[in-house]
């Protein structure tokens, strides 16, 4: 089937196309070169005056895995209707997740904290998200196997073999580390762990975990830099830790996630201040660092994190007063704490401002990804509102003038003049995350790429523009028209194929026998676990090993 999208105004940063009127041709789910003057498309969409971008890619959104179901259990249904702009609530079902993302023109979502032992079930949950492509980042760095290797000064090559084995066993796209060594330390009753403090059992620092894992990711050739949720999440004064973390990999690529929660100083009467400026300055001077923001929005949500140590510490703030923390299978943990961000709270209002300061302070949009760390800062359904805050300074300053007065005084936001343009929005919502993930055939509109395409109708209110896409194509099929679902597809699961010495399984087998209530043989995800329902599909990417 040959389809023509005629005369839209195209924003495709990967090709450097910035608002040019172009035709886009699609055949069999792929974008193709113009097929010649005599080609007759079976279907033509007239897009004069419309905005055309690749489908959006959310690189960090909690859409799968046991912690999301815990949040669904904990969050009382009666509170769901309170969430702004959506009846779906902060923790939607798999089905609603796909619909709400598709409506905004998104076509891919990545679960950034996939517990390896939970991989099979997390993939099956994500398999029920319609329209979207999906993928997971496997969590390492608090697992007893890795810490045991580090404590024994195992060679980097052995660590690399393990990291590679995990990627294969979990069918994941990247590696994530959360509070390196700290979640494990919490199980030994340590309540705080900074980057250079040691895990009480293994005597290993968080810095060592970071260095080793970021090196492994680089040497295995995994495109996505190590995804780092560093220590001291949410702690006033954590800016020092965050700066140290960005420097800890010695120039090796590193991605700091939900940076907003890690950009706090201790200045002022409240002992809580914005440290967005020094952090943005650091990022501007270091090309190896990329980030996503984890913007806070006001309203009811539910925070879910693998960081059991700090989620436990945050439990007194639970709203409503029910929360759960868990130790998980000698691999990591989790904490689920319902939370309500209020614009009349000094701290919450400043968190909101800090996120925006980061977006506006980091100059290179290719290294900033638009996220709310769904649902931790807010539901992903608030992205259109966030895009308007970034694109429309007067709207932003109007909103700022209504938040806690002392928070207004504590932020430089009012003086920040930058407004994102559509090209930059396309970078931070599509092309940037695709490039970071190594998805060469997504996040762009070049011939040969998948025809994941979003079409928007311009207007004065950017929130309305990005709320409901006019048209969304997934692999060439029209799935959304005017924000409404018109067809169903199921996307694919992206994963990273790496190489390792199978000898690692000997050590793993011994470790499983001593630590796990499950055998090594039954741990890996089978392809049929994802594809067996007849609609899931795995797409593997090969790594080039750099040694």
């Amino acid at each position: 089937m040959l389809t023509l999208l005629r005369g839209g105004t195209v924003y495709d940063p990967v090709q450097g196309i910035n608002g040019e009127v172009r035709d886009i041709w699609v055949r069999d789910g792929r974008i193709i070169d113009a097929p010649g003057a005599d080609a007759e498309p079976q279907q033509t969409y007239e897009l004069r005056g419309k905005i055309v971008m690749a489908g959006g890619i959310d690189m960090h959104t909690h859409v799968g895995g046991g912690k999301v179901n815990i949040a669904r259990t904990l969050l009382p249904p009666e509170l769901r209707a309170e969430v702004e702009d959506s009846l779906r609530g902060p923790v939607p079902t798999a089905w609603e997740t796909g619909l709400e993302y598709a409506r905004m023109g998104y076509t891919a979502v990545f679960e950034p904290a996939l517990l390896p032992v939970n991989a099979r079930l997390a993939h099956q949950e994500m398999g029920d998200i319609p329209i979207m492509d999906k993928g997971g980042f496997a969590m390492l760095g608090n697992d007893d196997f890795l810490l045991k290797l580090l404590a024994a000064d195992a060679p980097q090559a052995q660590i690399n073999d393990y990291v590679s084995w995990i990627l294969q066993a979990t069918r994941c796209m990247a590696i994530k580390v959360v509070n390196p060594g700290g979640i494990n330390a919490f199980k030994f009753n340590q309540r705080k762990m900074d980057l250079d403090e040691t895990n009480p059992y293994y005597g290993v620092t968080g810095r060592r975990v970071l260095e080793t894992l970021s090196t492994a990711v680089q040497e295995l050739g995994v495109p996505k830099p190590l995804h780092v949720h560093t220590c001291n999440l949410g702690v006033p004064g954590n800016v020092e830790t965050t700066l140290a973390t960005m420097g800890a990999t010695g120039g090796v690529p590193v991605h700091l996630t939900h940076l907003q929660f890690h950009s706090y100083g201790t200045e002022g009467d409240m002992g809580f201040s914005s440290a967005a400026a020094p952090i943005a300055e650091y990022i501007n001077g270091h090309d190896n660092v990329s980030v996503d923001v984890g913007q806070v929005m006001f309203g009811q949500t539910c925070t879910i994190s693998a960081d059991a140590m700090l989620q436990y510490a945050a439990h007194p703030h639970a709203n409503p007063k029910r929360w759960l923390a868990a130790d998980l299978e000698c691999e990591a943990g989790c904490g689920v704490v319902p939370f309500k961000y209020r614009d009349k709270s000094f701290v919450n209002a400043l968190q909101w401002a800090i996120g925006l300061e980061l977006f506006l302070g980091v100059n290179d949009p290719w290294r900033v990804v638009l996220t709310t760390d769904h649902p931790n800062g807010a539901s992903f359904t608030s992205y259109p509102h966030l895009i308007r805050l970034l694109m429309d300074r007067s709207f932003r300053n109007d909103r700022l003038s209504s938040v806690h007065a002392e928070a207004q005084a504590a932020t430089h936001l009012a003086s920040m003049e930058r407004e994102y343009d559509l090209y930059e929005i396309a970078v931070i919502t599509r092309s940037g995350p695709a490039r970071l993930l190594g998805l060469t055939e997504r996040g762009n509109l070049a011939p040969g790429s998948a025809a994941d395409i979003a079409v928007y109708t311009p207007g004065d209110d950017w929130e309305a523009v990005f709320r409901d896409a006019s048209l969304v194509f997934k692999d060439g099929t029209l799935v959304v028209r005017d924000g409404k679902l018109v067809d169903i597809s199921w996307g694919v699961t992206h994963w990273m194929q790496t190489e390792h010495d199978a000898g690692i399984e000997t050590s793993l087998d011994e470790h499983f026998r001593s630590h796990y209530a499950m055998g090594l043989a039954n741990y890996p995800v089978r392809d049929d676990d994802i594809e067996g329902d007849g609609r899931g599909k795995l797409v593997a990417y090969s790594c080039r090993r750099e040694r």
Binding site: G64, G66, V68, N69, I70, R72, T73, L74, P76, P77, G89, V91, P92, T93, A94, W95, L115, V117, N118, R120, L121, Q124, E125, D128, D144, F186, K187, F188, N189, Y201, Y312, H315, A318, R322, W323, L324, A325, A326, D327, L328, E329, C330, V336, L485, I488, S514, H515, Y516, A517, M518, G519, A521, N522, R526, D528, D529, G532, D533
Partner: protein, 422 residues
């Protein structure tokens, strides 16, 4: 039928995956990892039972068509049993949405105690491997463990397997009427605080008061084993990592309140030391259905589909009540695991999917034999701690379809809808 090793077992929530099986003509013999449940489950000979419509043998097509007809006419159908794998749970949810049915797992309110407690207080939890490696002290409340999960002692409690206990024995304290089902070893020390089921909540209440150094009314504690509880409280303060484990079935009528008390106890113990709670749930695939139901509907079960909405009424949507009060007009039973669980005779049109049709002592309108996940077909089941899932295998050529296949065929056979919604 091949011999098989490292076989995952679907027959309880413990999720053992170390079974070694030897095929025989009458089923599988278990050479390693046997327990009473797996022996019964894997020992089943392959079934060649045929579907039945109104008691008479029928083709699968005819049975599916009859089932679709009954469901198409029903206004308030009920899907229950729901002892199936991930694929079966997904298919059951699809069928329930399409037919605007109510759903309740066969465990009923008993399986919901943990959920209700979570929705009231939350909790702090641990998992099988964490417990096995870290817990110096384990409280088993209302259960001795093996009555729910026969290999719990061997697989999880045995201290010799603990990575972080430095060879210290693990202490296990059973609170309730059941005595420990094992004797002391170098690695495992048992204690029994004997009290009747109805006193277990009072004993836990007293334990909390002792831990929080609150005054206790002598009259309220006169029947309780206070000396043992006081010793336990002081021991609980000393350990670095402890676990509180309960068997949902053994907690009595207001088990949710007891689970809430246990969860808040665990939460408060974490102010000083590390503790985690763990329910011995998940038998009859309860955890599997709960997980799939949560991501599909936002609710853990006990739901009713109405239009595009899902109504969650954990106290009211009760399969037994819906059937006995006449507020359902068609029952679909999906039971693919143990043979002990079969539906009682229903007074409404009934469609029963079970691997054990010969054990049913009444005649439903439609009876469809299905395979057992992990024996007759591959699948996924979820362990009691919700975190780990098992890759269930197909171990033999079976004539019986998976529950998911039958449910999807019934769905496809339903009359066209008047209104469409995806």
């Amino acid at each position: 039928m091949d011999n098989a090793r490292n076989v995952p077992c679907p027959f309880c929530g413990l999720g053992c995956d170390d079974l070694a099986l030897r095929a025989s003509d009458s089923g599988f013999a278990i050479e390693h990892g046997a327990c009473v449940r797996s022996r019964a489950g894997f020992g089943q000979p392959p079934s060649s039972a045929k579907a039945r419509v109104n008691g008479a043998e029928a083709s699968l097509d005819a049975a599916v068509s009859q089932a679709a007809g009954l469901l198409g006419e029903a206004r308030e159908p009920l899907l229950t049993g729901l002892a199936t794998d991930v694929a079966g749970s997904r298919a059951a949810l699809r069928l329930a949405q399409r037919t605007q049915a109510s759903m309740d797992h066969l465990h009923g309110i008993g399986g919901f105690q943990g959920v209700l407690a979570m929705q009231s207080s939350g909790g702090m939890s641990t998992t099988m491997s964490e417990l096995r490696n870290r817990a110096e002290l384990v409280l088993l409340v209302g259960t001795n463990g093996v009555d729910v999960m026969p290999r719990l002692t061997e697989r999880v409690l045995e201290g010799s397997q603990a990575a972080f206990l430095d060879g210290k024995p693990r202490e296990v304290v059973v609170i309730g009427p059941q005595a420990p089902d094992a004797s002391d070893s170098e690695q495992l020390h048992w204690q029994h605080i004997d009290c009747p089921v109805y006193d277990v909540p009072y004993a836990i209440g007293a334990l909390r008061c002792l831990l929080e150094e609150r005054d206790l009314d002598d009259a309220a504690t006169s029947d309780l084993p206070m000396t043992a509880l006081a010793e336990l409280a002081s021991r609980m303060r000393e350990v670095d990592y402890g676990a509180v484990v309960w068997g949902p079935a053994g907690l009595g009528a207001h088990g949710d309140l007891l689970v809430e008390a246990l969860q808040t106890l665990v939460q408060s113990l974490n102010a000083e030391k590390r503790w985690g709670g763990l329910a011995l749930a998940g038998n009859e695939s309860a955890t599997t259905f709960e997980e799939v139901c949560l991501w599909s509907t936002g609710y853990p079960g006990r739901i009713r589909f109405r239009g595009d909405d899902v109504i969650y009424e954990p106290r009211l949507i009760d399969a037994g009540r819906l059937l006995s009060s006449g507020t359902t007009d068609c029952m679909v039973w999906i039971g693919g695991m143990e043979g002990d669980h079969l539906p009682g005779k229903a007074e409404v049109p009934s469609i029963v999917l079970t691997p054990y049709p010969e054990r049913l002592d009444w005649q439903p309108d439609v009876l469809i034999p299905i395979g057992v996940p992990g024996l007759d077909h591959a699948g996924t089941s979820v362990r009691s701690d919700h975190v780990v899932s098992l890759p269930l295998r197909s171990l033999r050529d079976s004539q019986q379809p998976a529950a998911a296949d039958v449910l999807d065929r019934i769905l496809a056979g339903l009359p066209a809808r008047e209104t469409s919604s995806c």
